[in-house]
Amino acid sequence: MLFTSWSFALLVAALVPVYYLVPKRLQKSVLLFANAVFYAFAGWGAFLLLLFTALSAYGFARGIGRLWDGQKETLTLHKTDWEKPEKKAYRERMEHKRRTLLVLCLVLHFGILFGMKYGAGILGIVNGWFGTAWDGSKLLLTMGASFYTFSIMGYVIDVERGKYPAERNPLNVLLFGSFFPILVQGPISRFDTLGETLFAPHAFSRENLEAGLFRIAWGYWKKLIVADRLLVAVKQLIRYPETYNGAFVLLGMLLYAATLYADFTGGIDITIGVGRLLGIRIDENFDRPYFSKNIAEYWRRWHMTLGAWFKEYLYYPVSVSKPLRRLTKAARRLGDGFARRLPVYLATFAVWAVTGMWHGNSWNFLVWGLCNGAILLLSEECSPLYARFHRRFPKLGKTWGYRAFTVIRTVLLLSSLRLFDCYATVPETLRAFGSMFTVWNLPLLWRGGIQSLGLHFADYAVSFCGVAAMFTVSMVQRKGRLLPRLHRWPLWKKLLLFGALVLTIAVFGRYGFGYDAGQFIYNRF
């Protein structure tokens, strides 16, 4: 079930009144039922897999939780009669047990995810080597698997870390993993923050309804008017890389930046808006990412929940892990600077390799991830240089022009990296990128080039207005959140704005017969 389907609209429209009309203790059951309806559209296989993931995670977390409880009890019991080394040894033993359970759980579930993502490809390679004919076509990534696996595994890791106790009610874990608005394209959610609002009873509030509806409308606006329109041109540019080189690559980069932003943030707006209708607060996933001064900041503001997940559960654990510590110590002989950098470098590349693999199953994404890591490290190494530069020209950094320069530079840089996401192979991407500097064909753009991309002049005009609207909203957001301010507006103004949003979507949106509303780009993962 896609966001742009009548069945999704109907599900939400039916869910909201039912959710508030039933007795509060039944609200969770209503949500579970809605999730089941949602997943019924994705097929029973997908549903059973999700059920298995949630329930097995519940079991593992309970097991780990029991070990924690046992440890606490034992330690209290032997508070006086055990000596320090005794206690320490006991704690280490228990930790080892918990770790073992956790590793089993992670291997199992990330193994399943890995199998779905790469199974077909790996089988293809194996078939090529051994001449077998195993069919991998059934190993498909089911809807939302990338997102819910990460969310649920985050929960188990947190329990192992003792951040909070294991959940006693298996239905709560299931509800957390299957909450349908976040199944489509995230955000990757935390059990403690989402769970708190998800499991709590909610009373109807006009403010929530209003904010939810506005947020949803704005999401559809971005998605249907801007993203799905520009996607036509982007696809055309990518399909014929030999024809569309040079300036067209630059054009494609910028169009893709707008498309991806409108598509992904639009989808998240719909997700958060649906949650809001139910009084449930879903984590934000974007913080005006295109206004970042550098790539590191961009990754803190774009797909924030994924970045946070990788940092907390992969980057830091790897960088302070025992093997890496030992390696660092050994590296001392080669110099202190080298030793200090070693864990950072290794952890960075590890995380970015995995991030790349999360985004797609071709070599392109691996290279894309590693390039991101390399740029992050490079800019980190250069930061003393920057600092010296700014000490020399202390006023420059505060000027409007310089800030605009850093923002544009960052957008261009990350858009260049995204070429890996567009083209099919690494050499093709590099050729396209190189052609920007070697092929001079800028005038071709307005000599018929732009019109050949499947969009009319009017489409470009609408897209431009759409991008301008998104830009304006982002600028307004600099002064704080938008929806609370909107809430204070007089009624007539709110109705006018909402009516205008709906009407413009109806007229200018790309949907309906003969136009297959493009799947949300992030839905693939």
Binding site: L496, G499, L503
Partner: protein, 347 residues
Amino acid sequence: MKHSVRTIGIWALAAVLFCMSFGFVQRLVVPKYQSKSIEGSLTEEYYRETLGHDVLFVGDCEVFSNISPAELYRACGIASFIRGSAQQLVWQSYYLLEDALKTEHPSVVVFNVLALKYGSPQSEAYNRMTLDGMRWGSAKIGAIAASMTEGEDPVSYALPLLRFHARWSELEAEDFRCLFQKQSVSHNGYLLRADVRPVTRTPTPAPLTDPHLPETSMEWLSKMASLCKANGIELVLLKSPSIEPYWYDEWDADVQAFAKEHGLWYVNTLTQNDAIGIDYTTDTCDMGQHLNVYGAEKLSRWFGEELKARVQLPDRREDEAYQRVWQEKLERYDTEKAAAIAAQEGL
């Protein structure tokens, strides 16, 4: 209290304003079918009629191109209307008939059998041209449900804006001019053409894969027969003159069998060419697919006489109410016919 009255007022005003803007934009973007694809206007033009009809035609282009109600009236005194549309499928004919029977009771319904060859929905565009003009009611809903092709969305029939919104960038002067008022493009459902493109070759029909007409079509035809029977209407099955598309003997046999079983009159004009006098060098506008006005008038005169010989029909030329209305229709018909002929000769 005062506050809530104000709030309700704002809500009501907003709702009205929204519906009006939506309706306005919808009117604007929906195709007007006035100069392009004018067949799209046919379905709705039926509702402009003020008097009843003794004969109703239903079917595809072989009715709206080949029968001239004006000539039927002038030569035989028959008041008729053609509820035809491009590639009208059997179930659409059925529902258009059901829709018409809600407001009038003709003595005869003539169904053109060519469309029987289609047993499943064919084209979204033709669906829209046939169905969008229908007035709302059970018949329209039934027709939509029976006609939708894959990927079509029932909501967009209720709100055509959702279907035609992409036209916002292709609006023409006509869309603004005809926002609230449209010209009749037909003469009681007949689309007049005076151009001549003679038949130059005899078609070689492709062999049939299935010797029979699709079962679904025949089921809908049965339903139509029952509907007519229940309303005391004489159903006539007609195969209009044409060279192409080819009318197979196997299909003809199926229709004959059906007519025999239900006691219906089936006229296959392909066997009556000499009596009708169709000359395919002068009477067709597209090499034998459709008749032009010369051919249509010949067919209408012949068919009117045959019909009168079999069914008791009142002569509406002697009915004063009809005289007034039809006088105007005939004048417009003659003027447009003369203009069309002049335009052809001027070429």
